[in-house]
């Protein structure tokens, strides 16, 4: 049961990163790619009907984590307290900026919310990358399963780590570049003309950067967490995951140059999914490793809920996910194709 729920939560996180990832990426790019008011409106319309649904994966995933692994939820959420609160504030600001921008006709109002949307999307992405890096690096867990990390200490991966140190910042940078590529490719799929050309150009340039920072981050992970490869060593078949990551990266570079936007976007989704899967494999069966004493690791075993909870949960989870996927198919079909500004295209 623990194995099943570990991967179910992982799937929900992957769904969140792949789906909300492109609208976060769009948020980091729209002030650069959208040069006129019209282009900015187009860019925002491309994510307008879907961003909220994408973000629900975070809430549903968080809730699932809560009941399947209460100890992890309690320990991680209180331990990363400050970072999580900042993430909450950024989520609030980001939701406001995308939805309230069009309410007033004032240029100043719109420019303000454009800036806020950029700023909140960017910082959220960096925090997400840093969060994952924190989990890989581990935290100084106490005997009672709790910890509390300040935002930063001396920026070193040492006995007294902070939420931000050189390694987790690397994680933040990888997330930043990866989601910008993801967002640019989404825009290349959804737009036409100049805007599409610019999106492709950005994706194509950044995909090379992504290649570089991905390699750096993998090396950094081995430095920060020397035992990160132990599962790979004991099960060599798992090396297929990093190979798929590399293949996806190549697909992004190739696809964005060959104007094959859909394929490139699919490769970028696959890149994100397998980067996360690679991290999950490196962690398994740990959920939050300890930096000071391996016996204090939070693992599937010691964090798992009771058996009846998990059995019942599995039934409604599968049923609920089928419903959720159905909704997503309906919505994405409804708003499929290139986005346009014509009145009525999106039914105002």
């Amino acid at each position: 049961m623990g194995f099943v729920w570990f991967w179910l939560v992982a799937i929900m996180i992957v769904a969140y990163v792949v789906l909300d990832g492109f609208d976060l990426g769009v948020g980091m790019l729209h002030i650069f790619l959208g040069r006129t008011e019209q282009e900015r409106q187009l860019i925002l319309r491309s994510i307008g009907p879907v961003w909220d649904g994408n973000e629900v994966w975070l809430l549903a995933g968080g809730g699932t984590l809560y009941f399947a692994f209460p100890l992890l939820y309690a320990s991680a959420f209180s331990g990363f307290y400050l970072a999580l609160m900042i993430v909450l504030w950024l989520l609030i600001l980001r939701g406001l900026s995308i939805e309230l921008r069009m309410h007033l006709q004032l240029a100043v109002w719109r420019a303000f919310f454009d800036g806020l949307f950029f700023f909140s999307s960017l910082l959220l992405t960096v925090f997400y990358g840093a969060a994952l890096a924190n989990v890989i690096r581990g935290v100084p867990l106490g005997a009672d399963g709790y910890f509390f990390l300040p935002l930063w200490t001396d920026w070193r991966v040492g006995p007294r780590p902070g939420i931000l140190d050189w390694y987790t910042v690397v994680g933040g940078v990888v997330a930043l570049v990866a989601l910008e590529v993801h967002g640019a490719l989404y825009l290349a799929v959804k737009t036409e003309g100049d805007l599409q050309e610019r999106s492709r150009a950005v994706a194509s340039l950044l995909s090379l950067v992504l290649f570089g920072v991905t390699v750096v981050s993998l090396i950094a992970s081995i430095i920060a967490r020397p035992d990160a490869l132990s599962n790979y060593r004991s099960h060599p078949v798992l090396w297929i995951i990093p190979l798929i990551v590399l293949a996806s990266l190549s697909g992004i570079v190739y696809g964005s140059r060959r104007r094959q936007d859909r394929k490139a976007f699919a490769c970028s989704a696959s890149y994100l999914a397998f980067m996360l899967a690679g991290a999950a494999v490196a962690l398994y069966p740990r959920l939050l490793p300890s930096t000071n004493d391996p016996s204090r690791d939070i693992t599937i075993q010691n964090a798992l809920s009771g058996p009846h909870t998990l059995q019942v949960g599995l039934i409604w989870w599968i049923f609920g996910m089928l419903l959720a996927v159905t909704y997503f198919v309906i919505v994405y079909r409804m708003f499929r194709g290139k986005v346009s500004l014509e009145t009525g295209a999106y039914g105002h």
Binding site: D52, L100, G344
Partner: protein, 451 residues
């Protein structure tokens, strides 16, 4: 301030502010379905236009509900980690189900409802409105199930690790407390929706602007307001009160300011609890009524706080007394004003009766106060427990999150929510000022994203 008190204020502040929005979301969702249904049945485009107008306000309100709601789920882990850790297996379940069964539904069909009217058939658009309504009411249900378990824990056992485990999933969902609380709460949400709709309607009629729509809003608002104000008192409030007296006598004693157990206990309409002297100052009492309300006979004995060990008294006690009295007093006012408005509507005199339109216009903040006071009654009444009789509030908070860190984020939320309030009032005022005329589907109006 101690860390415990800070964590309590942190949750109380963020949840109180958050619930200002969902109560209107849930109430309006039902009223919008009503407007869409009338439009569909009578083939009357004015009702569609009215629905579109309210959808704009709904969209802004929904957005604020969403963004202020995310912190609520997180705070179980961030500020109440010890509670989350022990009870996650039980209450994590309805919280996760809310995300899976409600938020996906709402977010998907809200997009279709707000953006998709031109692409959908009239019936399909009605259905999208209905599914948004369904999603918001399912969401409310799962939150109430969570709260009901804290008020009245059922269907659990404690594992050797100290963690709580569900023994029966259906018993958790069918917790009688949850259904009583849900009925009372949703009725309260419809009151908020109705009073807001009436207020805008009365404003348009009094201002003699968009008065054709103002009359539609008043009709729908008064009918819904009359029904929900009555169901709020009877049967939902009455049943909940009796159930409360049976299972949380300490809460009832605190609410009523009953320091000493009494036969033929009277109901205190007004007064100030004097905690030190254990009396009520300046009491205005109606004899025997409390005994009758709870037990159906004026002779019955009602338990006072004297039967409750001092360390199990709900606190802060005076706040419990005031919030309960505020809720009950306002609830009575809602019934009265809606009876009058309903009578005038029936006699076709409402739109000419300016003396009745004025209070209808001005009363819209009161349901917010009543709903907030009602929740404060429930939550303070439950003290000193997080899960009634099982886990004390003082045992549940995050011990490693210092008072300093808690205050930092509390101030952050206060600042952010101040800005949110200003934006909300500004934008809703603009929507009301522009009026429903601009929502005609044929008109080429400036493009909006969601509002």
């Amino acid at each position: 301030m101690t860390a415990l008190l800070l964590h309590r204020i942190h949750f109380a502040f963020t949840v109180t502010y958050h619930y200002l929005f969902p109560q209107l979301t849930m109430g309006l969702a039902l009223l919008i379905v009503a407007l869409k249904t009338i439009a569909l049945v009578r083939r009357d485009e004015r009702y569609n236009q009215a629905a579109r107008f309210w959808a704009r306000i709904f969209a802004v309100n929904f957005l604020l509900g969403v963004v202020t709601g995310i912190p609520m789920e997180f705070q179980f882990g961030t500020n109440w980690s010890q509670f989350a850790r022990t009870t996650g297996g039980v209450i994590g379940q309805p919280l996760a189900m809310e995300g899976v069964f409600s938020f996906f539904l709402e977010s998907a069909f809200l997009g279709l409802f707000l953006y998709g009217e031109r692409r959908l058939s009239p019936f399909a658009h009605w259905a999208s409105a209905f599914l948004v309504f369904l999603g918001s009411w399912i969401s409310g249900f799962f939150i109430i199930v969570t709260n009901a378990w804290m008020q009245h824990p059922v269907a659990f056992c404690v594992l050797p690790s100290g963690m709580y485990e569900v023994t029966s999933f259906w018993a958790l969902l069918m917790n009688p407390w949850a259904w009583l609380e849900y009925a009372h709460n949703m009725s309260g949400a419809v009151i908020t929706g109705s009073f807001v709709m009436c207020a805008v309607g009365a404003f348009y009629v009094l201002e003699d602007q968009f008065s054709e729509f103002g009359k539609i809003f008043l009709q729908v608002g008064v009918v819904a307001g009359l029904i929900s104000s009555i169901t709020q008192v009877f049967p939902t409030g009455d049943l909940q009160g009796r159930y409360l007296a049976k299972h949380q006598p300490a809460a009832v004693a605190g609410m009523e300011g009953l320091f000493n157990s009494q036969r033929g206990a009277g109901i205190i309409l007004l007064g100030q609890p004097n905690y030190e002297q254990q009396t009520i100052d300046n009491p205005l009492v109606v004899n025997n009524v409390l005994s009758f309300l709870i037990y159906g006979t004026t002779e019955a004995e009602v338990q006072g706080l004297d039967r409750v060990p001092r360390d199990q008294w709900p606190e802060p006690l005076p706040l419990l007394f005031y919030s309960y009295h505020l809720m009950a007093g306002l609830g009575t006012y809602f019934v009265l004003i809606m009876l009058i408005a309903g009578f005038l509507l029936w006699r076709a005199r409402l739109f000419r009766s300016r003396w009745a339109l004025w209070p209808l216009m001005l009363s819209f903040p009161l349901p917010y106060i009543a709903n907030t006071a009602g929740w404060m009654t429930a939550e303070i009444g439950r003290q000193p427990w997080l899960a009634y009789g099982l886990i004390r509030t003082s045992e549940g908070y995050s011990k490693y999150v210092s008072a300093g860190n808690g205050l930092f984020t509390l101030i952050g939320f206060m600042g952010m929510y101040t800005v949110l309030s200003i934006l909300f009032i500004l934008l809703v005022y603009r929507i009301i000022q522009r009026g429903p005329e601009s929502t005609r589907l044929v008109a080429v109006s400036p493009p909006l994203t969601v509002g």
